[in-house]
Every structure is written in structure tokens, then in C-alpha cells.
């Protein structure tokens, strides 16, 4: 066991810190060109798609360097390394693994250069957690597929240019995991209609998408016909270490501590209440557990040992912390905790009351907590499927 970093890892950390000092001005000093310049500069450094092979424009970055990069970016509260979160997280890796040469040439550079934003067409009105049961239909007609059906809860759909779309090409397949086919579809194709859905926080991040006789050329199919489930599973397996998330949660905890220090409950400082103190310590302990779980799994990966579904452990922690920390802040602040941005007594500019309505973004997307529990029970503990 050794938690120290090698010299070259330390100098990489130094390089990231130096870069951030030079290129990340305080929020108040950022002008309208800031984001564009930022994206160009991190691209130049090779930090967008850092882990991707050099042949595709990445940097072949190692697992520990990836973790260092994420940790430093999160500590500095830097903007993302690219505008297409999903493009970088799984569309790109999926194309690199299953795409044709033309697809790789066409899509990969635009993801790295933040020219194109991707969304993910998985969930349907009747199939969310039960993803493999999808019904959105694609049938081959001459040199193109005709897509008919509906997607829903598609995050980023209102502003994305492309969608990675899961469809069913075979309705008679023996198992629901067969007969699924994956496509790369421009959102401005005729027959695609996006209807944003307002969430309980008042935002319109996600949408319903209707596909009516949408023509998708055969060359836009990702992987073979009927191989869509395999493509999806392997793309989702590309999730990165959670070290960046952990760092974000530690800074959120710092904000929570500041709130506690400036709050009085029943006329007394909240920071003197043993129940409040213990709750903060419990949050801190859970986040630390996420950190060391992550490092343990990272070590396994570096040693080449197969990871099963251990990442679900941290997803469950993240889900409960995401809900509980905001909720704790709002509850501690009493009536003032209810006020939104603009309220005379809004706490933290209304950020806590806003996030107390926003947790489903993190908690539901990518698999609900009960799905994570099923994954752990079935894949790790070997219990029968239900």
C-alpha cells in the first residue's frame, strides 16, 4: 500500500496546476470569449479525450494521470473539458470501438473540438429501467433505415445536434437483448420532433423526442444490426473513475460547513448542536469512503484485475449524498431555506433550495438506486434475477 505519487505523476499535477493558474481567471473576470478560449487551450494540451488513443486525437493518458487531471479540475472548479459530455463519456468510445473508419473520421474530431453536442436516446415512455425492452422501431428500406417511435427523458435533447439512438430492428428475437440496433442520427433530420419537458425545478434539460418516418442512412448504423445491446453495454462501461465527483462533493461539504457556522437554530449556533455535528461528520465519512473505494478500484484496474460492477457502490453513495446534503442545508435553514433565488432571505443565493429540487438529474439518470442494487445483488453477489 502506498498513497504517494511518483515523480512524473507529481510533475503532471504541477503542470495542471500551473495551467489552471494561468488560464482560469476568477469568475468575475471572465468575458464572453472565455469559454471558447478555454476549450481551445485544453484541447491544445491534449486534455480533452485525455485517455483516448493518440491515433484518434487523444493523449493515451494513464489511469492515475486521468484521476489527477479530474481531481485538479474539480478542485479549481474549472469548466468542463469539452461541451459534449456524452460525446466524450460514451459516444466517442463507442464509435472508436464499433464504428467504421468513415464514422471515426467524421465524428471523433468534432467531439474533441466541442463542435458537436450529443444526446443519448435510450429511455422510452414504457421502458426506462427495463432498457433492453425498447420498442422504437427501425426497419431497413433500400439504402436507409426508417425509424418510428418515441424517446423520453433525453437529457440535452433541446440543444444537441446529434443523438446516439437505440432502436429495435427485430421484434421476433428470442431475448429482449437481441434485435436491438444502434444509430447515429442528426437531430435536424426530417421527422424528428423535440418537445422539452419542464422538470420540478422549472428547468427544461430533458425532452420527449418523436421519430416519424425518419430516414437514417445505413452508414449511420453503429455496429452490426442486432448488436446494439453489446454496443450500449460496452459504451456505458467506459465510465471513468469517480475522483472528480468526490472532489466536487468535498467542496460542497465545505460550503455546507460554512452554512452551519453561520446558522442559528432555536437561537443557538447550529455548529454546537451534536446532531448537526455528527451529520456533517457522516457526510464527510461517506465522501471519504467514496474516495478510497475509488482508489481501491483504480488499483485493481491498474493491476489488470477485472472490475465487476463495483462502481455501483459509489453510485449509491453519490445518490444518497446528493439528496441528503441539499436537504440537510434546506432543513437547517428553516423558513429561509425555502426561498429561491431572488428571495430576501434566500440561503446561498437560493442554490440549496434549487438543488433540493434537482437531485433526480444525478440520482435517476444512469440507473436508479434500485437498479444499482439489482446490479450489485445479481452481478457481484450472484443472486437470481428478478
Amino acid at each position: 500500500m502506498d498513497f504517494d505519487y511518483t515523480e512524473s505523476e507529481q510533475s503532471f499535477r504541477q503542470e495542471v496546476q500551473d495551467f489552471l493558474r494561468e488560464n482560469l481567471p476568477p469568475k468575475k473576470d471572465r468575458d464572453e470569449n472565455f469559454l471558447k478560449t478555454w476549450l481551445e487551450k485544453v484541447r491544445e494540451k491534449g486534455w480533452v479525450g485525455f485517455s483516448w488513443p493518440k491515433a484518434f486525437g487523444g493523449s493515451d493518458g494513464g489511469l492515475i494521470e486521468q484521476a489527477i487531471l479530474k481531481e485538479e479540475m474539480a478542485l479549481a472548479k474549472a469548466p468542463p473539458l469539452g461541451t459534449s459530455m456524452m460525446g466524450l463519456a460514451w459516444v466517442g468510445p463507442g464509435i472508436m470501438e464499433y464504428g467504421t473508419e468513415e464514422q471515426k473520421k467524421k465524428f471523433i474530431p468534432d467531439i474533441l473540438d466541442s463542435k458537436v453536442t450529443w444526446c443519448t436516446g435510450y429511455s422510452e415512455p414504457n421502458h426506462g429501467s427495463d432498457l433492453a425492452a425498447i420498442q422504437c422501431k427501425a426497419e431497413l428500406v433500400g439504402d436507409h433505415y426508417l425509424v418510428n417511435g418515441q424517446k423520453i427523458w433525453t437529457t440535452g435533447a433541446p440543444w444537441s445536434q446529434w443523438i446516439i439512438l437505440l432502436t429495435r430492428t427485430d421484434f421476433k428475437a428470442k431475448s429482449k437483448h437481441e434485435g436491438i440496433t444502434c444509430f447515429l442520427v442528426p437531430m435536424d433530420s426530417p421527422g424528428v420532433e423535440v418537445k422539452p419537458i419542464k422538470n420540478m425545478a422549472g428547468d427544461k434539460h430533458f425532452a420527449e423526442i418523436f421519430f416519424t418516418d425518419v430516414q437514417v442512412p445505413v452508414e449511420n448504423r453503429l455496429g452490426a444490426e442486432g448488436e446494439g445491446w453489446k454496443v450500449t453495454v460496452s459504451a456505458l462501461a467506459n465510465e471513468r473513475s469517480s475522483i472528480g465527483e468526490v472532489t466536487q462533493m468535498f467542496s460542497k461539504l465545505d460550503e455546507l460547513k460554512d452554512l452551519v457556522k453561520s446558522t442559528r437554530v432555536q437561537g443557538k449556533p447550529a455548529a454546537e448542536d451534536p446532531a448537526v455535528r455528527r451529520q456533517l461528520a457522516r457526510f464527510e465519512t461517506k465522501i471519504a469512503a467514496m474516495k478510497y473505494n475509488g482508489l481501491r478500484y483504480l488499483t485493481k484496474q491498474i493491476k489488470g484485475e477485472p472490475l465487476s460492477s463495483e462502481t455501483s457502490v459509489n453510485k449509491l453513495h453519490r445518490a444518497s449524498l446528493e439528496i441528503e446534503m441539499d436537504d440537510f442545508a434546506v432543513s437547517l435553514s428553516g423558513e429561509a431555506g425555502l426561498q429561491l433565488k431572488g428571495g430576501e432571505n434566500a440561503v446561498g443565493g437560493g442554490s440549496w433550495s434549487k438543488s433540493v429540487l434537482n437531485w433526480p438529474n444525478v440520482v435517476i439518470g444512469g440507473g436508479t438506486p434500485n437498479i444499482q442494487r439489482n446490479i450489485i445483488a445479481e452481478r457481484i453477489l450472484g443472486l437470481p434475477k428478478d
Binding site: 492515475i64 473505494n293 434500485n370 445479481e378 443472486l383
Partner: protein, 367 residues
């Protein structure tokens, strides 16, 4: 950055596994504990021969010069089978002597602890649920060449198994630790929930010790030993929790109700998944704390508090659910699940319960 065990540590783990399987099965543990012997000298000698008592002792004093990470492996594996052997008490005694003893005292005692000839238990605090110097009431009066002890240490783990006791007491010139032979004190075994972790009161009124058997201690050293105790207890909780999870998980695969194994139902499988999440998490915290013990002392207190604070409550719930998910059979004396529930009750208050540790995390975190 490497958060894993070495090849040697993996071999050590296999060695302990083998010992527990071949020599210290749960049937054997029941036999030892039901007869209130808690002990089998030939097995203790075997443990000593295998070197587990010498792990963290300096080679100068007959030890192996390894670290708490190595000891963690042994404690975790022995606790899977609820071993009643006082390996943790012995290790804490060695650490206490190493922290407080003079060169001469270390030379006298540590080799005998390393080879198992002396079996040592520690008596730190006098008040229940109070981890503080103020909780130490027992006294030591210094005289020319000797010292008189006074008081009762009411909650001493493994006192009945030991040959010697290390007694923490206060004197006019600060905290002292006295090494006494067990026969000098009055030992009263107490009936407790967990027979695999025997506990006794130790009356030291009128016990006289030579000044050679007295060591100087202070709050910092007391804290350090308490932290080591919390770490060792957590390592044992990791092992016991894993064993109970495996036992319950296997049962959930075999027990058929309503035409299917009960592990198919989400009410059961989700609880098992949550146990896995907790176990993985306090395991990570435990290993990190073990590493801090030797390699990052400035982080040790906080890391230990996180590990012990998390595991104390989580293991208690795992004990309840491990028994509960079995239904009525889990409640029977004959079935092993209940032994783990009892162990979880023992582990919860030892070297600080979760309230104590959470409060300390808050303090160390600037609240």
C-alpha cells in the same frame, strides 16, 4: 499510488484462512467459549509460531518489523471465524510498551510478547462510554522503589486469558502504565453478550509493583493506543461482516419460499446489496487508516474515526439484518448467524462508538 496488498500480504491472508479453516472452525470456537476457556494453549503456540504476534514488533526485540496493514490482514481473517484468541490485545500491549517503555522494559517484555510466552491484556479506561483521560480513575501512588495501585478496571477485554495485564492509572506526576502479573489482581469474569470476547473486572487495590514495572504515559500516547484499538476492532468488523454477508447470501440463494429462492425478491436482495455497499466502504476506510498508522501519522486519528465511526453502526445493522433475513432459524442458538450479531454488539462501543468518532471528525474538520 497503490491501494492494494503485496504478494506477501496475500500469502499471509491465505495462511490465516488455512489456520481458521483447519484449526479454529466455528465449532471449535463454540467449544472453547461454551466452556469459558476461550483458550487452547496449543493453538496459541501455533499462532505464535506463525509469527502473527510478532508482526508489528521491532526486529530489535524479536519482532518482524512489519506494519499495521499486515496486522489488519490477520485480524480481518481471524474475525471471519470469530476467533477468541487475544491477538488484538497482544498487539495493543506491544504497541503500548513500544510507546511508553524504556529501552530496558522493551528488551524485557517485547520478545516474550512476540513469541507468545507472555499473554497481555490492556486496561485503559474506567468509565463506560467515555474515551478520555478523565475516565481513568484508578490510581498509582509512587513510593521509594515501588508503587501501589488502587482502583478497579471494570471492563478489561481478555483479562482472564492473559498472563499479564497493563494497567493505566493516574499518579501525581501524570499517567502511568503498570505491568502486573494476572495473579496479583482479582479478576472477575463478567457475563456479557459475546462469549467470544471475554471481559472481566480487574481489582488492583493494594497491588504493589516495582518501579521497574512502571512506564510513563501521556494523553498523546493514550490517544494513539486508543486509535490502534479502534483500528484493530474495525479490521475485525470487516472480517466478521464479510463472513455474515456470505452466510446470509448463501442462505438467500438456497431458501425457497413462494416457489423461488428468497434472494430473488428485492426486499431481500436490496438489503444484501446495501450490506455489500457498507462493507466495501468501511473496508476501504479501514485499509486507509491502517496505512496511516505507520505511514501518515498526522492523518491517523481522522482516518480511524471515519473507519470505526462508519463500521460500528453499519456492522450492528448487518448483525441485525443477517439474523433477520434468515427468519426464525437465524434466531436459534444452533445456527451461526447469531454469533455475529453478538460480536457486533461487542465491537460497537470498543475504543469509541460512532457518536464519539463522529464528534471527533467534526472537530478535526473545523466544526
Amino acid at each position: 499510488m497503490n491501494f492494494g496488498f503485496t504478494e506477501e500480504q496475500n500469502l499471509l491472508r491465505e495462511q490465516v484462512e488455512r489456520f481458521m479453516r483447519d484449526d479454529c472452525s466455528l465449532a471449535k470456537v463454540r467449544e472453547l467459549c461454551n466452556e469459558q476457556k476461550g483458550f487452547d494453549i496449543s493453538l496459541w503456540e501455533k499462532i505464535a509460531e506463525l509469527g502473527w504476534l510478532a508482526l508489528t514488533i521491532d526486529p530489535k526485540y524479536g519482532g518482524l518489523g512489519l506494519k499495521w496493514v499486515d496486522l489488519t490482514v490477520v485480524l480481518e481473517e481471524t474475525a471471519k471465524g470469530l476467533s477468541p484468541f487475544p491477538i488484538l490485545s497482544q498487539a495493543l500491549s506491544s504497541a503500548l510498551i513500544d510507546s511508553c517503555g524504556s529501552e530496558h522494559q522493551k528488551e524485557r517484555w517485547l520478545p516474550k510478547l512476540a513469541n507468545g510466552e507472555m499473554i497481555c491484556a490492556i486496561a485503559l479506561y474506567d468509565e463506560p462510554n467515555w474515551i478520555s483521560e478523565d475516565s481513568i480513575r484508578s490510581s498509582v501512588t509512587l513510593k521509594e522503589g515501588s508503587a501501589d495501585l488502587g482502583g478497579i478496571k471494570p471492563f478489561v477485554n481478555d483479562a482472564n486469558l492473559a498472563t499479564h495485564l497493563l494497567v493505566m492509572a493516574r499518579s501525581d506526576s501524570g499517567l502511568k502504565v503498570a505491568m502486573i502479573e494476572k495473579t496479583q489482581a482479582r479478576i472477575n469474569i463478567q457475563p456479557t453478550v459475546d462469549t467470544t470476547k471475554p471481559m472481566a473486572s480487574v481489582t488492583v487495590d493494594g497491588v504493589s509493583v516495582s518501579r521497574d514495572d512502571l512506564m510513563d504515559c501521556d494523553v498523546e500516547k493514550l490517544d494513539y493506543i486508543t486509535n490502534c484499538g479502534a483500528l484493530g476492532t474495525t479490521a475485525e468488523m470487516v472480517g466478521s461482516s464479510e463472513a455474515l454477508l456470505n452466510l446470509t447470501n448463501e442462505y438467500a440463494k438456497q431458501r425457497i419460499q413462494f416457489g423461488a429462492p428468497i434472494g430473488k425478491y428485492q426486499g431481500v436482495k436490496h438489503r444484501l446489496a446495501d450490506i455489500y455497499v457498507d462493507l466495501e466502504s468501511f473496508k476501504s476506510l479501514c485499509y486507509y487508516a491502517a496505512w496511516c498508522a505507520d505511514d501518515k501519522p498526522e492523518e491517523f486519528a481522522r482516518a480511524v474515526s471515519m473507519a470505526k465511526g462508519y463500521s460500528s453502526d453499519a456492522f450492528n445493522q448487518i448483525g441485525i439484518d443477517g439474523v433477520g433475513l434468515h427468519g426464525a432459524i437465524g434466531f436459534t442458538d444452533e445456527y451461526d448467524a447469531q454469533l455475529y450479531l453478538k460480536r457486533s454488539k461487542w465491537a460497537r462501543p470498543m475504543f469509541g462508538d460512532s457518536n464519539f468518532h463522529m464528534e471527533r471528525i467534526a472537530q478535526l474538520g473545523g466544526i
